[in-house]
């Protein structure tokens, strides 16, 4: 299993280390050609406007969308969740997104850095609670058809998935808990490999 991690800006190294810890082969993706052969792609946390501009300059939008049509799975964390969403509330004028997952997200929904927080979360499919680290996080305001809610916090949706797309508004890569990385690789990437074949 080969999983790409978009390495333009943000916490990509932590995702690579987590993937290696569960035995997946991880590759840092800085240019679109490096997506070839990836069964899945993680778009990490970082600054969504900065990542979006860097993606635009090297034609990432078209290539990621193309690879997804061929069955590549995608998981967006925090900024990554914003980048794969169909609709963004409070985005910059003209802010592009990949439009891969039918959700509406709100940027910086909780406020400024002083409002960033940690909280225990009940996540569907996991037996024990997962410690969510929310940093200037977005939340998910609504989900479309075929999108399942995996976790909520204080009545706000914070984790969702569809057949091959997943979004979390918190940062599993900042904890040592590898359960969501395992979930993505075994439940979404393997499936997309079968569907795509």
């Amino acid at each position: 299993m080969r999983i790409g991690v978009l390495a333009l800006q943000g916490a990509f190294r932590e995702h690579i280390l987590a993937l290696e810890a569960i035995g997946a082969s991880a590759v840092a993706v800085r240019l679109p050609a490096q997506l070839d052969g990836c069964d899945g792609l993680i778009i990490p946390g970082g600054e969504s406007t900065a990542i979006a501009k860097l993606m635009d300059r090297h034609g990432f939008y078209e290539s990621v969308q193309g690879r997804c049509r061929e069955g590549m799975a995608v998981w967006g964390t925090c900024a990554g969740a914003i980048l794969i969403a169909k609709r963004i509330s409070d985005g910059l004028p003209g802010q592009r997104s990949l439009g891969l997952l039918d959700i509406q997200v709100r940027r910086n929904a909780y406020g400024r850095q002083s409002d960033s927080f940690e909280a225990g979360l009940e996540v569907k499919g996991l037996d024990e609670p997962f410690q969510g680290i929310f940093i200037r996080a977005p939340w998910i305001e609504s989900v479309g058809e075929g999108v399942r809610v995996l976790a909520e916090h204080d009545g706000r949706i914070v984790a969702v998935r569809s057949a091959s797309m997943m979004a979390t508004t918190f940062h599993p890569e900042l904890t040592r808990d590898l359960r969501l990385h395992r979930y993505f690789v075994s439940d979404l990437c393997s499936r997309s490999r079968l569907d795509g074949a």
């Binding site: 943000g10 970082g46 501009k53 860097l54 927080f117 940690e118 916090h153």
Partner: protein, 298 residues
């Protein structure tokens, strides 16, 4: 603090925010308009200031925290994080900046120090702090005081990368030294570095700093930014280098691109073309010692 099933201001939330800035460029800005230019260029955050370091040098006198109106204007102008500087040891300036909603506070040697012995006790704040360092001991002293991010100091406002390189190499060399020591040598290493044993032990066991380290002070070109990234920093601060140059928009975009693609010389060459005039720059021996900002901080 803990309420509504959530805990704010935890160490993980503070250091984690710095992790999200990695691979990015933080730009000094003095107006809302400059902040927008920085955001459009792909900056991961802006530093809200009254004057950039190059102008602080020219103006002389006492440099203080920016006017709250300025900080608020810049916060309103952009959606990316906004940092602001307080004087070394000036914990009331830090309280004011926290109340204004600054996302990170830089306890900075660019401003005139308010305390010649003590830095701010940063543990008491919900907002995270970044501090400057020239070597491993200084970095660990700031982390012990609660800094959630450090930056090598360089020499601000010079457009001369030589001090940034010196400080980055010093930190890396000292980490390698500590990592190679035997356990019984760590107590003496802690004494030599002027740092706590626990942090020295952490560096020994992990072979790196416990927090994100950016490079600052003298970065003026895309190649400068890539140089610092190849030397091992996690991202860069660009102060005077952008808005003291001929074409700030273009230079800002180019530095962002070079910081991401820091190992790709073709991309760095491409973005370095026709950038217009870089800031003039100052040679370090031409700065009287009393005016060297890097010497501030203890």
């Amino acid at each position: 603090m803990s309420e509504n099933n959530r805990e704010t201001g935890t160490l993980r939330v503070k250091t984690g925010f710095a992790e999200m800035l990695k691979g990015g460029v933080i730009m000094d800005v003095v107006t809302a308009e400059q902040a927008k230019i920085a955001e459009d260029a792909g900056a991961v955050a802006v530093m809200a200031l009254e004057r950039v370091p190059a102008d602080i040098r020219v103006a002389g006198g006492v440099a203080r925290m920016a006017d709250p109106t300025k900080v608020t204007e810049i916060i309103k102008a952009v959606t990316i994080p906004v940092m602001a500087k307080c004087r070394i040891g000036h914990f009331v300036e830090a309280q004011v900046l926290e109340s204004l909603g600054a996302d990170y506070i830089d306890e900075s040697e660019v401003l005139t120090p308010a305390d010649e012995q003590y830095h701010v006790n940063k543990w008491g704040f919900t907002v995270p702090f970044v501090c400057g360092c020239r070597n491993l001991g200084e970095a660990l002293r700031r982390i012990a005081e609660g800094a959630a991010m450090v930056r090598t100091k360089g020499e601000p406002g010079t457009g001369n990368v030589v001090e940034a390189v010196r400080h980055m190499r010093t930190v890396s060399d000292e980490i390698a030294w500590v990592a190679g020591l035997r356990d019984e040598q760590l107590f003496d290493a802690a004494k030599q570095l002027g740092a706590t044993y626990d942090l020295v032990k952490w560096v020994h066991d992990n072979g790196k700093l416990p927090v994100v380290n950016f490079s600052a002070g003298g970065i003026a070109t895309p190649a400068d930014a890539a140089l610092m990234m190849q030397l091992g920093c996690d991202g860069v601060f660009v102060g005077s280098g952008i808005f003291k140059s001929g074409d700030p928009e273009k230079r800002a975009r180019a530095i962002v691109e070079a910081t991401t693609h820091y190992e790709n010389a073709e991309i760095i060459a491409d973005v370095s073309r026709d950038l217009g005039e870089a800031m003039v720059g100052i040679n370090i021996p031409d700065i009287p010692e009393a005016q060297r900002m890097q010497e501030r901080g203890w």
